[in-house]
């Protein structure tokens, strides 16, 4: 055991090296299979897709020099100087291989759906068509032609997502199931390489000297010698000058402030909400009951008193207040629908619901098992009981069991969250379309479906924004969900560490263009 490695400083200006901690071990660094945040974060530093985000967070050329998105498809012209970390050139075939592998039912990738705008992708994933029917082909080594299943005006944004990253057939086939399970079982085309992966303990990224844009990369080493999901432990590491960035929570924030650290906010763009089960056998199928509940759950009380974390915002719409589209902040142009929070009115709705339903059985409130989720749930339970006399039963489940139960419809109200996958409001908007597998409350509304379809296929800015506005109103009127809060991260960052980009998409936080001020 090397004592020295444990005592590395948080940042080193001389070596341009930084030390960080990871919340968990990445379950997979196979870009076609990864689904989690940590994987996405690491891959965004190790790999590069056709398109990437620049230092300001704008869409910028990645492996593709330029591209063109049409009604029926898209073309990408690849740069010729892009290399893998073993020196091989990055070609259009790498993309074709990766995308086919991602939709291959045998790969069983859980993010295969993000490739469904590509022609035949969904059918292939269902095992109905051969892989070769996927609507993508390489024209020579440096041109990629994509055919769409249906119009997809935001396809270029999708290609920045990790499932769209290229892959090397020879490497994947050499390692088989063990591909990307260790540092030496994968290759990289991004700004960093994975130099070390001691499972559960230590990961180390080093600058990729073969990366095409290597001049723009200043950090030489990003070291992760600590893996802990305990934010207090992370914060303590930060205090000891062991790591350069640490998330804060309610417990550690005060201490950080007391020490005069600059606490920073970062909007995750994630929406948390209560979802109602609309299956007909459930009491929550009743609109009056849903409205009664809506009228007593004023999000600001939850946010300011219960969650008590600065920066977290009460949510009032399906679309997070910071969501931008076409250069505008959506919520400013299209303000969220107003809701009258009123206990008396709520009781009236409840009386109506009782007339329609008869006796209301205790409602099952399905929640996660994280500390915050539990606090939140106990708050809802308390309010519904106090204000409406509604009994609720908490069903606290681990993440997987909660999702399973939601899918099976074993809940009345479920606490859920949704983060954007790519930079377009449709990533929220299509959530409650009747065909969406993630619409776990089985909300079915023909009007809603048609507005979603319009927003998905239209290329016209105004039409799409209108559609999104309609969607947020339907959600509110029909009380499909009760938006509760928009999550915000709070963190402290080493003062010498500069240029870290907090990003909603493409892996967060992003150290690609970061440096250490000497």
């Amino acid at each position: 055991m090397a004592v020295t490695s444990a005592h590395a400083e948080a940042v080193s200006g001389q070596d341009q090296a930084i030390t960080l901690s990871l919340a968990t071990e990445p379950p997979s660094l196979d870009s076609m299979q990864a689904t989690d945040q940590i994987g996405s974060f690491l891959l965004s530093h190790l790999m590069e897709g056709l398109v990437q985000y620049d230092a300001e967070g704008n869409l910028a050329p990645g492996i593709a020099l330029r591209w063109q998105v049409r009604e029926d498809g898209a073309t990408f012209w690849l740069r010729k100087d892009a290399r893998w970390s073993d020196g091989e050139p990055v070609t259009a075939h790498n993309f074709v291989f990766a995308w086919r592998r991602a939709v291959n039912p045998q790969t069983a990738s859980q993010y295969a759906f993000i490739l469904f705008p590509i022609k035949n992708a969904e059918a292939i994933n269902r095992g109905e068509l051969p892989l070769s029917d996927l609507g993508v082909r390489a024209v020579g080594d440096y041109r990629l032609e994509v055919q769409f299943e249906r119009s997809c005006p935001y396809f270029d944004k999708l290609t920045a997502f990790m499932t769209y990253y290229p892959a090397r057939q020879d490497i994947v086939e050499r390692w088989g199931r063990a591909f990307a399970a260790d540092a030496d079982k994968m290759v990289f085309n991004g700004p960093f390489t994975l130099a070390k992966w001691v499972h559960g303990a230590h990961l180390r990224l080093e600058k990729n000297t073969r990366y095409w844009n290597r001049e723009a990369i200043r950090l030489q080493v990003i070291d992760f010698p600590y893996i802990t999901s305990d934010t207090t432990a992370q914060y303590n590491l930060y205090k000891d000058n062991r790591i350069a960035l640490a998330a804060l929570d309610a417990g550690t924030l005060n201490d950080a402030v007391k020490r005069g650290y600059e606490a920073r906010l970062f909007d995750f763009g994630t929406l948390y909400f209560l979802e109602f089960n609309q299956r007909s056998e459930r009491a929550t199928h009743n609109l009056a009951l849903r409205r009664a509940i809506q009228a007593v759950l004023e999000p600001s009380l939850l946010v300011y008193k219960v969650l008590g974390l600065p920066g977290i915002k009460p949510a009032y719409s399906l679309f997070p207040s910071g969501m931008r589209a076409y250069g505008i902040t959506f919520s400013e142009q299209y303000p969220p629908p107003a809701i009258d929070y009123n206990i008396e009115k709520a009781r009236e709705y409840l009386r109506q619901a009782r007339r329609e339903l008869g006796e209301i059985e205790p409602l099952t409130l399905l929640v996660g098992d994280s500390p915050r989720a539990v606090n939140e749930a106990e708050y809802y339970q308390y309010v519904l009981k106090q204000a409406l006399g509604l009994e609720t039963r908490l069903d606290q489940q681990t993440f997987k069991q909660r999702i399973a139960k939601m899918r099976r419809g074993e809940f009345d109200i479920a606490a859920a969250g949704w983060g954007p996958d790519f930079d377009d409001p449709i990533t929220f908007g299509d959530l409650f379309a009747s065909w969406n597998d993630n619409n776990r409350g089985r909300f079915e509304n023909r009007r809603y479906d048609s507005w979603v379809a319009k927003a998905q296929s239209s290329a016209d800015q105004e039409t799409r924004l209108q559609a999104f506005d309609r969607l947020q109103h339907i959600i509110s009127e029909q009380v499909v969900i009760i938006p509760t809060y928009e999550n915000v991260g709070m963190y402290v960052q080493h003062p010498q560490l500069q240029g870290v980009r907090r990003s909603l998409f493409g892996g967060d936080p992003n150290f690609r263009y970061a440096w250490v001020e000497p």
């Binding site: 309610a250 417990g251 009380l301 600065p310 069903d395």
Partner: protein, 441 residues
């Protein structure tokens, strides 16, 4: 040397009590009561059990009631406070402020307004507790309009607000001079919505907030009543599970011992296997396997798992006693005299076994309390809102740095309970030793 006349007369016979060479061993309870630590432990245990079951009547605060305007507070006394309007979507637009000022300052909401800075892209609002040093404090928000409504867990103490305009070029340089600060102390109030929610009677626009002798937790629930109700859970698990598994084990062991032969062999082999299961590992595994349905407290699966895994100890103990008695001369002679099994069990087995079981019970109880706390702590125990000391600790550990009382109160409760039962168990087994020693003389 002077002698009296009767000195050399015969001495009267010795008193009879001197002849009593072997006094019968004193009853267990009397030995126990002679031991100071046992008495203290007994009193503590009695108090714990009493407060667990009668405590809710003595301190009738509802442990589920959330005093949202007083979350994570230290000990407080009862207060009379004003009810204020919530006005959640305050638009400060009408305020024409000449400098940074507070429009209102209550613990429900601190409304700030300031003159717009030309060219500013927005403002960052920070809040620090006065006297907290030079730092700006907690970042509350980044906003575009020149007003802010702070509602974030306000307490009755002095705050210093700092507003920093952003985007005024060049940043860095001018920024400091453009900062505005204001220090204020909000008055303790309660929002109308919350007062309605709590159903508090309003007199002259004021309501009474009750005292919280041990403070409140992160949802504003009264710690004292949480701990009392937690005691209920912990005691329930701590008492029922050992009682159940010791009873079960005792019957199992007695059956094995009485039947004997291959049945005994098989039964004890099974017991050996169960003993070999790693306890905590299987507690967790069973807990996951049984799953917790909605609305359940998680107590039943835990007790069941504990019973399933813990019975062999008592079984072995009782079986050993049964075998020992079966071989002893007096049981043989009693049998020859035609005594029934039932008679033997009642007359010979029970008096021998019961004290032993009592001792193992007194050690099993703190063990069970501990296990419950540990499992609830790692989130594999009872399900909220059921409070238990373990889950209270779990909640408390998150705010350990800022509100240590939320961890320390339940931790002390667990420690005292376990301590008391352990001491009682020690005293009990010591008393048994005394009894056995006296009995053997």
């Amino acid at each position: 040397m002077q002698f009296h006349a009767d000195d050399f007369k015969a001495l009267p016979a010795a008193p009879v009590e001197q002849m009593e060479a072997l006094a019968p061993a004193p009853p267990l309870w009397r030995v126990l009561l002679a031991d100071v630590r046992a008495v203290v432990a007994l009193v503590v245990v009695a108090l714990l059990v009493f407060s667990a079951f009668a405590g809710p009547f003595l301190w009738p605060q509802d442990p589920a009631r959330q005093w949202l305007s007083q979350v994570s507070s230290g000990p407080t006394t009862a207060r009379i406070v004003a009810v204020v309007e919530d006005n959640p979507q305050w638009q400060g637009a009408l305020v024409q402020a000449g400098q940074l000022m507070s429009v209102s300052a209550t613990t429900t909401s601190v409304k700030l307004a300031w003159p717009a800075v030309a060219g500013a892209a927005g403002y960052r609002v920070y809040r620090a507790e006065a006297g907290e040093g030079a730092g700006l404090g907690v970042p509350l928000a980044q906003i575009e309009h020149p007003w802010y409504d702070d509602r974030l867990q306000l307490r009755e103490r002095a705050y210093r607000y700092t507003v920093v305009p952003v985007g005024v070029a060049p940043e860095g340089e001018n920024e400091l001079s453009r900062r505005a600060t204001i220090t204020l102390t909000p008055a303790l109030t309660i929002g109308r919505f919350e007062a309605q929610l709590l159903d508090l009677p309003v007199h002259n626009g004021e309501v009474v907030l009750p005292a919280h002798p041990l403070g409140t937790d992160s949802l504003g629930r009264d710690m004292l009543s949480r701990v009392i109700h937690g005691a209920r859970t912990s005691m329930l698990v701590g008492l029922t599970a050992p009682l159940l598994f010791i009873t079960l084990g005792a019957f199992y062991g007695a059956a094995a011992g009485l039947i004997g032969g291959w049945v005994d062999n098989t039964l004890m082999r099974i017991a050996d296997f169960v003993v070999a299961l790693p306890f905590l590992l299987f507690m967790i595994l069973f807990r996951v396997a049984m799953g917790i349905e909605s609305g359940e407290s998680g107590l039943f699966p835990m007790v069941l798992a504990m019973v399933l895994l813990s019975w062999p100890g008592a079984a072995r103990l009782v079986r050993g006693q049964v075998l020992q008695l079966r071989g002893s001369a007096f049981v043989l002679s009693a049998r020859m005299a035609g005594a029934s099994n039932l008679y033997l069990i009642r007359r010979h087995l029970l008096p021998n076994v019961l004290p032993l079981l009592l001792v193992s019970l007194s050690f099993a109880i703190p063990q069970a309390i501990f296990t419950e706390a540990l499992l609830s702590f790692i989130g594999m125990g009872v399900v909220p809102p059921t409070p238990s000391w373990g889950s209270l600790c779990n909640e408390g550990i998150r705010s350990m740095l800022t509100h240590p009382h939320e961890l320390i109160v339940p931790a002390v409760a667990i420690s005292i309970a376990v301590l008391a039962f352990n001491v009682l168990g020690d005293a009990l087994s010591d008393a048994m030793d005394v009894q056995i020693r006296r009995g053997a003389q």
